[in-house]
Symmetry: C2
Subunit: 333 residues, 2 copies
DNA sequence: CTGAAAGCGCTAACAA
DNA sequence: TTGTTAGCGCTTTCAG
């Protein structure tokens, strides 16, 4: 037995397919009796409308794609999860299908199945974005300020975030400040580091290169870096980690070495990951509204896919300092 | 200017739509000259085939749904990420659209858009599975042995996993063994605990209730539990955590308290999360092939959606002990 | 190797 | 309130 179609339902209900269509779509212009008949038939035949046919007839594709660029580990980050949740939430409330693209960042992806695409960042996959734009697929990028492509974006000023972190540590009296960067091939990683460095320079505080460790947002890279910092003959009194997860791992490391945060060393993170609140010490951090950014991205994209708007929105937000317990003034200058 | 359709392409190429269709679908029966003409037109018009029309004409829906039941925090787990990756990978290689359903576990979800659904577990959302089955949508469940519903599944014997963990600790000579369970409303959480408890009973080792802490797979719950255990006048010499992330957090806590793993306390986890390798001590754990399970789920589901098979597969695997450095014999009985 | 034509299942005027 | 009908864009026989 094949799948029931609208015709089968109509036949069983002894009504026209239009009427069936009306009740499927909840149009009010159907008499209660007929509605009941249709509903009986639908239930009996286990009828499910064919979405492809609906979309074809309606002329719209009710789905958007979501691509997470594939650098190893990005999935395991708070960042990715928040975006997934945000995008998912928006799609659910807008009744959009969320089509996930897991990709290594290079494989071509099939844009045809979706009305638009949101990119969870651009890392090494700028090509994919360009390809999508070239085919005329509306695109929206999260966490990258990209002004040279016809795409919308929502990003936060990572440069400013780095400055804020540095400034705060400086204001506490720290002079020996180290940093574990994020992945520097990401705009966020590079800019946080730049902002951080710039502020230090501005305040005439030197940043020796043994105080800089290139991480990649992973706990593992943070652990490695922290170990190096702590083994220095002249260790830093404060550390700026480009993500909270890294900050958390650094704090663990410090404790393992028998020292205390913030008494012996201050640590500041980035993201405002709730995990900041539940560790050994509440982590001071730079907040960025990932979930909301993802939601907003979907809404913006949808309004252009559905033709309600025509101009790509370019949104650029400021991050915000959240003071908690992981930073204090250094014991001695 | 509207989107170009196959007719537009045919017109520009001065050929029939059949020929255009053949080129699009890479059928070899097209002369090189005509193929070139079509390709020129396609490029010129930025033609993208309408997937809905293709699916309608072909009579198949090339996409599968993926639902992650929504209990808070599940997203932030290694478990969820591995499944997402595995499902994503399989879909990419099978050329399937992966439609993500983020749901609180109660909202009805629209199954019509997909050919089949894989559930990343069943927690409180059994209803959704039943609803899907009722509409005739092929379903496949990961990590739940469900024999009373017409669905396929791939699960691992969590009961056995719990036993293996207990048995290993026992074999090392531990008598005072505590556990932080997973979410007990999940089959995995409940069964790991049951298996663990059973093995202890079998070996006549008592499990006082202050040695049992109901966690929920979160780091936070593990930290809380560990703190309680360590504060006991008679603390355990070993702890079984129902996930590696919890084990990792417990290890951190132990270190914060100035003790060592495994010298003072042994800890065994569950999952075989790579993070086990990069912390202060390599974590001994119970391995379960999440990524592969997810992949397999998609393949099984697809073969029934596409009609290649008709019987739902029911797969039940055994977990495996992975010995690393976080467990040792207790210092004294 | 190519084209004509019959649908795929549904929506949305339009008439009744 | 209901039914008729013309597509939506594409695939796929079937002739040629």
């Amino acid at each position: 037995m094949k799948k029931a179609s609208i015709t089968d339902v109509a036949r069983r209900a002894k009504l026209s397919i239009s009427t069936v269509s009306r009740v499927i779509n909840n149009l009010s212009t159907v008499s209660p009796e007929n509605r009941a008949k249709v509903e009986e038939a639908v239930a009996h035949l286990k009828f499910k409308p064919n979405v492809s046919a609906q979309r074809l007839a309606r002329g719209v594709n009710n789905s958007i794609g979501f691509v997470i660029p594939g650098y190893p580990g990005i999935f395991y980050s708070f960042y990715a999860i928040e975006l997934i949740r945000g995008v998912g939430h928006a799609c659910e409330s807008l009744n959009l299908d969320l089509v996930f693209h897991i990709t290594n960042g290079f494989n071509p992806i099939n844009f045809n199945t979706v009305g638009g695409i949101v990119f969870a960042d651009i890392i090494e996959n700028r090509r994919q974005v360009e390809a999508a734009v070239a085919t005329g697929t509306p695109c929206f990028v999260i966490n990258n300020k990209v002004d040279d492509l016809d795409v919308g974006y929502i990003a936060v000023n990572n440069h400013l975030g780095g400055k804020i972190a540095a400034d705060y540590l400086l204001s506490l009296g720290h002079k020996k400040i180290a940093t574990v960067t994020g992945n520097l091939t990401t705009q966020s990683g590079a800019q946080r580091y730049e902002g951080f460095k710039e502020m230090l320079e501005k305040k005439k505080v030197t940043l020796p290169k043994e105080y800089v460790h290139q991480g990649d947002y992973s706990r593992q890279s943070a652990r490695y870096a922290a170990e190096r910092f702590l083994d220095l003959k002249n260790p830093p009194t404060a550390i700026f980690a480009a993500s909270d997860e890294m900050a958390l791992e650094i704090i663990s490391m410090i404790h393992e070495k028998g020292m205390k945060v913030p008494d012996d060393i201050s640590v500041i993170g980035y993201d405002d990951n709730p995990a900041c609140l539940y560790g050994a010490v509440a982590v001071t951090t730079i907040k960025q509204p990932l979930f909301q950014m993802a939601e907003k991205a979907v809404r913006c994209l949808n309004s252009i896919v559905s033709g309600k708007k025509t101009k790509n929105e370019k949104i650029y937000l400021d991050p915000e300092l959240v003071v908690r317990d992981s930073c204090a003034s250094p014991k001695r200058g």
